[in-house]
Symmetry: C2
Subunit: 264 residues, 2 copies
């Protein structure tokens, strides 16, 4: 079971759009996918057409220890794709967790319990991919997302501020790897909202490739208004505009990720 | 002295770009402006060409009570425009402040002391406009920014997720007004990154005007790549591309704000 956090403390760079559509693409390719919404704004939950804060619990109840992860997973309209929805109360979780022992590993522990109990009860892992959507900060919610993951995809808008934040982000990932989660690896940097007509975008992409050689995905997610329209219909890009650039780009990214899977 | 927080918990909607360029526009129109960077990512500080975490202190030292606001203000290349720079340590301030008495009003108190001591020492207010750039969250840093302000400008990207967050944002502003800062008013909602060619943008703008009648600025900030290029040169849009749509739009916004000033 691959566990991947999609991260960037810079806001509005394509994190939620990536988790929703990469998740849907992997699900269409037959992988069993669970996406986890760690953002109090519940954008991922809304994107997939689920009402935040429903009866069955949320990532908030997982973090407070009130419910196991299994109890919070809801089906989406997409086959093979389940969601651990967010809840507005999640905004208070950072302060509530502040004095908890092992506050950085609460989500990781919940995923471990879920995985272990599935293997014991059914003899198999509960999913092939777990994708975690992080809020735009380096607070406890994002740290929980990173520590629960084994891999990180950095969503990167190809603009100045987003590039500036990269150094700090890589520092934080290295620190968490050294101190808490030795298996954590930067799987790749994903150019998002990419408009090749803009000199700024081409220059930033060239800079990132120079500073992080070999760590930038071949796939790029091009700027495509269909990706911004799909969330208002509560569905992924594949249901909303299957032939669009956005659908092609996220499907290509899914194939690139699958290509990295160890030979089973 | 007008105190205005530029706010939106949704990330990447144009908050920093607005504080930097609106501040520069007001300064060019002869107003004495101070901009305050409350984001640990220090994007506003970088935008104005200042190195974050310099010797003279930062918003972090103001929040921890180690330095008065006056000691942290630095000049920028723009006449009439001073900055209270950010510092990476600001990321830890939310947890550090968590158990402080009156944790929501630390910045407000610092601004009050600065204003009062200027009136006593020089017989006049220290500035005409104070603009506060908030990080993309509803945590203590943003709350301090809102409580320190008397007015709020909501930067709004005209897309689905940004629109969704508006209800929560207005709730928080109302709550702070009732409980802590009775003078807090929503001055206006500012359409940012606006591309009138996109149906999504036109529809979202129409929705916002319907739900918040009379509270949307006449001025709109159009999508303009020059606004995204200027930060990498450490200057406002007026030094980088004075004839651009971005420069025209922020100058128009500054005039609209000045037009709201009570007859002096
Ligand atoms: N490739 C794309 N083309 C066009 N629009 C996009 C694309 N990717 C994302 N968007 C839109 O851009 C905005 C920002 O994307 P998104 O919300 O996914 O970013 P985020 O990093 O999750 O933001 P936050 O930091 O607030 O969580 C959204 O309105 C989204 O619909
Ligand atoms: N009107 C505009 N036209 C084109 N690009 C813009 C415009 N306004 C902002 N940008 C660019 O869009 C990105 C997001 O803007 P900005 O960083 O100001 O938003 P923010 O709300 O401050 O983000 P955060 O939530 O991360 O603090 C930046 O790369 C910025 O340069
Ligand atoms: Mg998001
Ligand atoms: Mg900003």
């Amino acid at each position: 079971m691959r566990r991947i956090a999609v991260m960037n403390q810079k806001g509005g760079v394509g994190k939620t759009t990536t988790v929703a559509n990469l998740g849907a693409a992997l699900a269409r390719l037959g992988r069993r996918v669970v996406v986890i919404d760690m953002d109090p704004q519940a954008n991922l939950t809304l994107h997939l057409g689920v009402e935040p804060g429903g009866a069955s619990g949320s990532t908030y109840t997982v973090l407070t220890g009130d419910a196991p992860l299994t109890g919070t997973l809801v089906a989406t309209d997409h086959e093979n794709l389940r969601l651990a929805p967010s809840h507005l109360d999640l905004a208070g979780a950072e302060l509530e967790l502040a004095s908890t022992i092992g506050r950085e590993t609460v989500l990781a522990d919940a995923i471990d319990v879920w995985e272990r109990s599935s293997i014991e009860a059914e003899g198999s892992e509960p999913a092939d991919y777990v994708l975690i959507d992080c809020p735009p900060s380096l607070g406890l919610l994002s740290v929980n997302g990173l520590v629960a993951a084994r891999e990180v995809i950095v969503a990167l808008q190809t603009e100045f501020f987003a590039l500036q934040g990269m150094t700090k982000l890589v520092e934080v990932v290295d620190l968490l790897k050294r101190r808490i989660q030795p298996e954590l690896e930067l799987t790749g940097i994903l150019p998002c909202l990419y408009d090749s007509r803009l000199k700024l975008a081409r220059e930033v992409l060239a800079e990132v490739r120079k500073y992080f050689p070999g760590r930038v995905f071949e796939s790029k997610i091009r700027l495509n208004v269909k990706l911004a329209e799909a969330p208002s219909y509560g569905c992924s890009i594949f249901e909303y505009a299957a032939g669009s650039k956005g659908a092609l780009d996220y499907m290509q990214l899914a194939r690139e990720l699958i290509g990295q899977e160890p030979e089973s």
